[in-house]
Assembly symmetry: C3
Homo-oligomer: 270 residues x 3
């Protein structure tokens, strides 16, 4: 019984994800289909690749990931299967699969041969349904990747810029970028907590100054929310394995009026 | 192992869909439950029937669809089972099941007899949980429809207006209506790409003029996004099998400030 | 084949729920995972406990519920397993599990012993993934609760204020609170329809006056929407088993401009 895990930027209001699951069940009625998320910010390949990298290892070995964050659908970008030590990844050759596969140990890659794979009725706009879902379903039946496509030189796979980045050190501390705002309004930053603390010369329990535009706030570097009081700002390593700025029992995004890609400056108190 | 596919306008914030799945699993723990979507625009029977019509055939034969877009819940509208060549459909007799069933080959229909079906504790407001989910679960156990209800004359089933419509031809091109905006902000129009091209006298690769209120834009009739440049407007056959107006790597809905039911005029350049 | 039902306030835009499912499938690939909802209003333990209480009994006996509405994550609040007559509940000891378990017949409770349970790599911020999901998965394999933790005195479990409340009777009728607005815009009130009718001295079919701030509306006490005309206000027992104020074929929340926690006054006509 193989798990097929889906991640897309399709959202859930349309029948798109439902159609992908339908195609998989039509090919392999015994596939266990599960969702990572379908609300990846549209076209955000870097964030999608990071979400996959922090999530894949919680899945059973042998899980097949289908990732469709694919602004290039219908162009010449290749549909690929990537084989790593313990997992299989199916999606477009735009870099989205690579950080996870490399983290697990990238072994080989295949361009899905639409003809060999016996796929039919391929639309120009929905390869998630017409190529990636069936390819994953065939893999889940035990058909090996080389039957579904031809081998690629893994060095030629498209790469994507990855998270975490090095913190940008300025005269006055570090400058960070909000790469994602989670459903709690927590601000996920572009660097790791360890790098951040090193750059600022601070430790767990220390206070730092957060500057957003021209306003300044105090935040505590902590391991868990429970170390700060309700309504206080905390910086810690979140589930994205990145430094995260949150308001305990509140929404940092709303309260600080911050959007994705906004800049946040941090410095140690003087 | 039978697939039961659910489509509702319930949304996912409440435990309503979860309760329906619970009821199904209580009756048939081996049912494979999957979701088409639960965010059909509220009470929009025409759009729901179209979503079902474009999606059902991707599911394994024998799939049982439960569709609850049911403004008439608690009234005298009949709860029905519709049998088509390859599928079973369960839902209200308001037309929502018919276009899909007819597309597959409508064979027969039954009014669910709440007493015969052994259903109990039927609320006045939640037939999805109390009638449709259990009826589908019993069907998935192999109980034939005639045991769950009595046969109806299929000619007496309620009909619904269907998509696509004929494009409305005016002195100055065609006038279309936005029937849905998908999660990408793509505008799904009320006609097919073939009819649209015929009406306008244009072909793939041609440019057309899009008029929204008093503003005019250029759009390219294409097979796939990759034929237009980033930020350009494209018209093509989308996954709804209708003509679709989209901004490549952007949101046509936001950029053109268009809502569902708004009017769009198209004409060939002079 | 055991059902594991998940309810959280995580939302679906992040990979958090997907990670929990991954952990469960890694421990028990045969677990049937289903969702109650993941959009419980953030940190709202009372509403979450009510949603669980009105939903649990629709699930097959033996279902294991994992409920993560957990503002105290990372603090000393205990991770617990609650055993009731027919079900198992896993979550934080903040009261969220208790109304459901007590409704079914609370038998015993255990504090999950993180060491005995063989759990590893426990983060400070995501016990849903690192403690509750694995505990539920082990339970689903048949491992009894006492192997995963030590017995608690059920009298010492944290309690939470429960719904329905008694209607607040004033000189001029009753004063109610909106505890939830469902996806249809229906206003779920903090009392039962029976108590409400008793307090107002009205019966099904009677009209009442609804006062929101300084505006007054008429509403009909009904069993089902079909008793009122389109666009009319109805008060009835909804699927939350609470009194509910809705606009037939519309959104009471939008039309009356009402938010959660707002006050609504009801009185019988003079």
């Amino acid at each position: 019984m193989t798990v097929i895990a889906l991640m897309t930027d399709f959202g859930l209001k349309d029948p798109y994800v439902g159609m992908m699951k339908a195609v998989i069940l039509s090919i392999n009625p015994n596939a266990v289909i599960t969702d990572l998320t379908h609300e990846v910010p549209k076209y955000n390949i870097t964030l999608a690749s990071h979400m996959l990298k922090i999530s894949y290892k919680y899945f059973p070995k042998g899980t097949i990931f289908v990732v469709v964050v694919d602004p290039g659908v219908g162009s010449r970008r290749r549909p690929i299967i990537v084989v790593s030590k313990n997992y299989l990844f199916v999606g477009p050759d735009n870099g989205v699969l690579i950080p996870a596969a490399r983290n697990d140990g990238l072994l080989s890659a295949y361009e899905i041969n639409v003809k060999i794979a016996g796929l039919k009725e391929i639309s120009y706009t929905f390869h998630g349904r017409d190529i990636f879902a069936p390819a994953a379903a065939y893999l889940s039946l035990g058909i090996p990747p080389h039957v579904l496509g031809h081998k690629l030189n893994t060095k030629e796979l498209v790469k994507v810029s990855e998270l975490p980045e090095e913190p940008l050190i300025t005269d006055d501390g570090v400058e960070l970028r909000v790469v994602h705002i989670d459903d709690f309004g927590n601000l996920i930053l572009n660097t790791s907590i360890v790098e951040l603390m090193k750059s600022l010369g601070v430790r767990y329990g220390d206070e730092v100054i957060v500057k957003v535009r021209d306003r300044e706030y105090k935040a505590l570097i902590v391991r868990t929310f429970s170390e700060v009081c309700e309504g206080c700002l905390a910086i810690y390593e979140g589930s994205f394995r990145l430094a995260e700025l949150a308001k305990y029992m509140g929404s940092a995004s709303m309260d600080l009026d911050i959007n994705v890609n906004d800049c946040i400056r941090l410095r140690a108190p003087r």
